[in-house]
């Protein structure tokens, strides 16, 4: 009996890992799509690279954690790291570029300036973890039922979670940029614009997501 149980356990844990990986992959794709779409539609709101006065994807940092838990965190972290890597190696967009040259360029950048790697990791972690941290701070001990929260998001929860997530995200991002360039002249302006953009985009996006979720739930009940 014992080997059978172990097999079942192994299968269960393997399918669990597969499910989590699929969720992370989905979140990765959603974040990349949302970032590029935002860049395309609302690029005129740029203050500096990565700093916007209205950043709608910030709402996804919280929504993906609510929907997928830690898989969402991992997906957003990896997607952010990928986008920063692409931004660091502009040659990748060229016609003769390939994956090998991309990796070579990125590795060379990290060897020449190790703080670049530290900055990249910090930015990726801030982007992925800020929503999860804000939820852990404000809604402690309810991780299992975060998905249920999506249906009952009220204004005070949206405002408070978005505020804390924005403070964490913009604070760590500016810290990471200061790692790269200690003489960053407009650090305070970047911080204030990023914080404002995250709050405005996060609140607007989450209000829209909450309203659509309720609308779909009502439609589902009616049919």
């Amino acid at each position: 009996m014992e080997p059978k149980l172990t097999d079942r356990e192994n299968t269960t844990s393997r399918s669990g890992i597969l499910q989590d990986s699929a969720r992370s992959g989905l979140c990765f794709a959603i974040w990349i799509t949302a970032s590029l779409t935002h860049e395309w539609f609302l690029g005129f709101l740029h203050y500096r690279d990565g700093v916007d006065l209205l950043y709608l994807p910030h709402s996804l940092r919280i929504a993906l954690v609510l929907a997928f838990g830690l898989s969402g965190v991992l997906g957003v972290c990896l997607a952010t790291a990928t986008l920063i890597l692409f931004a660091m190696t502009p040659d990748f967009a060229g016609s003769d570029a390939n994956l090998q040259s991309f990796i070579m360029t990125a590795t060379q950048v990290f060897i020449d300036k190790p703080s670049t790697l530290a900055s990249l990791i910090l930015q990726a972690l801030a982007s992925g973890c800020c929503g999860w941290l804000a939820l852990r701070i404000l809604v402690p001990g309810r991780q299992a039922s975060y998905a249920g929260m999506m249906m009952n998001l009220d204004l005070r929860t949206i405002l408070s979670v978005v505020t804390i997530a924005s403070v964490i995200n913009s604070g760590v991002h500016v810290g990471a940029w200061l790692l790269l360039d200690a003489d960053l002249g407009d650090a305070s302006a970047r911080f204030s614009v990023m914080l404002t953009g995250d709050v405005l985009g996060g609140v607007l996006g989450l209000v829209l997501i909450a309203l659509s979720t309720r609308l779909f739930a009502r439609e589902g009940k009616m049919t």
Binding site: L138, L159, S192, L195
Partner: protein
């Protein structure tokens, strides 16, 4: 209530201007504006009269900071005074809770939501006034970037209120637990 909120607001405003002058971006726009916490606190404690005290203090002492326009002189203090009271009415429910019950209902989420909403109303209101009636500030600073001013004001209000109210909460918790433990109080 009106007089005490007026005095408290003036004290906090001048203390902040003295202590954090290095964080001033434009006249009246500070990247760390602790008095916004006082706005929220006075509105929570004294309700409408607390907000009126702040508005009155702003009207009496801070006129002509941004504009000579008579409308701006009247409207700006009203925004400054009533933003937290208005945000409180929205986030804690319009007319649903009496003055006594709103403090009972206040948890971390409500407080942070209230701070964020009031900062948003205040900075947006001020920037609208600046863009429409703020001739003096625009002349003295040449070209004012409205989006940067809005972002700086919002950040200052948000961070200032968060820091002030959570510092106050920690002080109350520390002193509260000390008072409870103190055997000399006879309890």
């Amino acid at each position: 209530m009106l007089a005490s909120s007026l005095v408290l607001w003036l004290l906090s405003w001048h203390a902040n201007a003295w202590a954090f002058s290095f964080a001033e971006v434009y006249p009246g726009v500070n990247l760390l504006f602790l008095p916004h916490g006082m706005r929220v606190l006075l509105s929570l404690l004294f309700g409408f009269w607390g907000a009126s005290g702040i508005a009155m203090a702003s009207l009496m002492f801070h006129r002509n900071l941004w504009s000579d326009d008579p409308w701006a002189t009247i409207i700006t203090p009203l925004i400054s005074g009533y933003c937290a009271w208005f945000a409180m009415k929205i986030s804690l429910g319009l007319g649903q809770h009496s003055d006594d019950r709103r403090l009972e209902k206040l948890d971390s989420r409500s407080l942070i939501g209230l701070i964020c909403l009031s900062a948003l109303i205040n900075s947006l209101g001020h920037v609208i006034i600046l863009s429409t009636l703020g001739t003096q500030a625009a002349e003295s600073h040449g070209h004012i970037n409205l989006s940067s001013t809005f972002a700086a004001m919002f950040t200052g209000d948000l961070l200032g209120a968060l820091i002030m109210l959570y510092a106050l909460r920690m002080i109350i918790m520390v002193f509260g637990s000390k008072t409870k433990r103190d055997p000399s109080d006879g309890t």
